[in-house]
Symmetry: C2
Subunit: 398 residues, 2 copies
Amino acid sequence: MIASHYEKMLQGKSVIRELSEFATARGKEIGYENVFDYSLGNPSVPVPEAVTETMIKLLREKNPMELHGYSPSLGIPSVREKVAKSLSQRFGIPYEAEHIFMTSGAAGAIAHALRAVTEPGDEVLTFAPCFSEYVPYVNGTGARLKVVPANTETFQINFEAFEEMLSEKTAAVLINTPNNPSGVVYSTATIQKLAEILTKKAGEYGREIYIISDEPYREILFEGVDAPCVAAHYGNTLMCYSFSKSLSFPGERIGYVAVGPACRDAVKIIQMCGQISRETGHNCPASLIQLAVAEHLDLTSDLSVYETNKNILYRELTQLGFTCTEPGGTFYIFPKALEEDAKIFCEKGRKYDLIMVPGDGFGCPGYFRMAYCIDTEKVERSLAALRRFVETEYPNRK
Amino acid sequence: MIASHYEKMLQGKSVIRELSEFATARGKEIGYENVFDYSLGNPSVPVPEAVTETMIKLLREKNPMELHGYSPSLGIPSVREKVAKSLSQRFGIPYEAEHIFMTSGAAGAIAHALRAVTEPGDEVLTFAPCFSEYVPYVNGTGARLKVVPANTETFQINFEAFEEMLSEKTAAVLINTPNNPSGVVYSTATIQKLAEILTKKAGEYGREIYIISDEPYREILFEGVDAPCVAAHYGNTLMCYSFSKSLSFPGERIGYVAVGPACRDAVKIIQMCGQISRETGHNCPASLIQLAVAEHLDLTSDLSVYETNKNILYRELTQLGFTCTEPGGTFYIFPKALEEDAKIFCEKGRKYDLIMVPGDGFGCPGYFRMAYCIDTEKVERSLAALRRFVETEYPNRK
């Protein structure tokens, strides 16, 4: 008499996990350094030393009862204050501590934000290509996720399809910029148009439509890229942040929800997040981790390797004839496969020890994702394999 | 258009929080050292130094990419292995890593365990007096919590009422021993009888009935107390553990679910916990914290102060004429109030700067909880206030 719903979920196969297992197994045969594993979005640079030193200092100097004591369900007050202050200085939005809810990474943030602003039967719209885990996040709330088809010209928003899919059931729009898997950053024009449409439709429908803005890649931006703050353009925004990528801290599970002060019921939404936690058993992120990141809110790891890798790969891919939108941030690139079925394309790549993820799982068949959060030296070594793969398997590509 | 369900939950008042706020406010007037705050179940002894040293060593010596990297959704494999080994050595039950799911404390553990073995519409039984947060944990699953009335003679199980309330809808029985708030430890006879009844009824109903065993106070046991391992007496047991109390580590949010190897679908239940996390955004506890506790599974803080405090309070309370079952563990005691309404009783206590929690919120009106996880010196100083309170307000008690 186990829960049938979760038992069924076990039958779903994770393509990325399978690929990663293949890469590990292949690595045992030929040495992992010879497997060009572009499958996983795991940071490849260390946490800044200052963060490590802060943790050691806290452990050495702070009263252990206080350091390891219960955090209130919304987060440690001093941490919430510091997050609010940092955001308000940076984005010019008057966040206060009462607008901040500390979470176990972006997953915790999105799961809470969704529960706070949806009712069972509501719809949540998101845009392909998108992170596959959005499906369980939304399913868990009783609402339904609808994926707006990609604009594969630019990987900005396909507004035509979006407007057709908006309805009176739309409770929220879940966006991710800089985007996993495309690497594209939504432009100011895109965000402005999105805000205009939502304001108009919310008026028509007589309901709020919230933007849930998933921003774990916010700090990984490349030169000259226009990267607007979503919350500055749309009041009803729930910003979901994670330190996983910016501080190379994914295992420590730390992030937050910041509800725009102009958001309707802003403070109440944060308080409701505390109630949601009571049902899911989320509680807070670890106290030590909360206190450590609060000292380094404006610091990041050295993220420059990602731009270096992007430049190398983008140049090579376009030279090889791939159709590819240049990423503006993240550590992903999302070219068009050289045959219709990207699954077959990626399967063939394995023969050359190239591990790439078909776009199907991101709601965008025919494309594939490469996660270039690996050493630059390995990216460079992978180019010969990439050329050999393309020239052998697709000699007649144009 | 915020979620009405969570908005409604905001209206619920937390008696404990109110009391704690009163204690803080009163502390500002007369000095917190003069407020006899027995309201909160917060450990009052520090984490063992060895745990602190392990964390510093990990931070100093371990590769930061590995240390802070993503943990698999079920927990870090080496940590799961160590937990299984420690449990199997201690309780003689052949746990393996595949039976362990690492969680954010007991809250995360119980929330996952409940979701894994219930379907919407099922019933979960628990026994008064019980932790008030069981209500949202169960509500969040779509099942319904039914509280079996207390056996106030002994605070063991009221089997008569229990058997009447068991039905074909019963999916799980949620127990907590050593118990918050009574401090009582279920005896071997109690656990054996519970197991017998469940085995018989499960056969009759043709379904599994799981025990979800909430064991955060497992290590706080007093001299000479018979404290059976629940899982050793009933195969279908999901043990939910937290290091919050044993290591004085509540803010670090670390615990686990251990599913008995004899449990039907044991391994599948653990795998399903990973699927449940995908919906709730729970993910894993922090990597650093997982790795730290894994080195100290058989260590506890110096917990002796709790027994010292229990002895002082139990002696004084019985001398003053309270009806009171002697606690066998935890840092709680749960005497009968000196008037019918324990809320009024506790309200009167405030005049003497005694902060106690009425039993109503624990499903046991007429009793009150004192959490004696405070310095012994303060417990001793509180006795005069307690005597003054009782002798002034209840001069005619027998």
